[in-house]
């Protein structure tokens, strides 16, 4: 079975640009969460979606948005990129509730 897949794996953007990151969860998982991890820190929660509805939002500005599609894949969008948005963006999928969250390999975003 395929694990959580994220695309792209790396990208470089210029300040002020917009970026879209994509995630496909494990087959059968209906919940997708997004995390930001800056170097030397643990992942920070951005969003969780379950059955296409937002379940939770972390302490991130409105420049960050996300959505989940009928096939349970998800997109994370970031507008007006800042240098401080440079990080590893992680997607996690789970069956919901207390079940384990499995992470993808991440997307390394560099803003220059």
């Amino acid at each position: 079975d395929a694990g959580v897949t994220q695309s792209p794996t790396h990208l470089i953007k210029t300040r002020g640009q917009h970026v879209t990151l994509r995630c496909s969860p494990i087959s059968g998982h209906k919940s997708v969460s997004w995390y930001q991890q800056v170097l030397g820190q643990g992942p920070q929660f951005i969003f969780q979606y379950y059955e296409k509805e937002e379940r939770g939002r972390g302490n991130f500005p409105d420049r960050f948005s996300a959505r989940q599609f009928p096939n349970y894949s998800s997109e994370l969008n970031v507008n007006a990129l800042l240098l401080g948005d440079s990080a590893l963006y992680l997607c996690a999928s789970s069956g919901g509730g207390n079940t384990e969250a499995f992470f993808g390999q991440g997307t390394r975003l560099t803003v220059v």
Binding site: G42, P43, N98, E100
Partner: protein, 110 residues
Amino acid sequence: EDQVTQSPEALRLQEGESSSLNCSYTVSGLRGLFWYRQDPGKGPEFLFTLYSAGEEKEKERLKATLTKKESFLHITAPKPEDSATYLCAAHGGSNYKLTFGKGTLLTVNP
């Protein structure tokens, strides 16, 4: 606000030298305590979930334990391939998020 603190920040061991990593948590209504392993530039790899105080889980050289305030990851006779950052995360109360610690960077020298 949920908080997770891991110690030490970094740990260097000789191959075969057993030790423990600590994860202290302050979470309202713990629903699960998770341990992950993360290699440089990669996503976290799931290791264990613990749900209640007194619970223990093992996988190869790793054993995770849980009390009402902290969790330990015991590493027995580590090998160089165990070198990685180990992350602890708590899932609490009505939140749907995982709150992570900063991790412990483990280096095992041959």
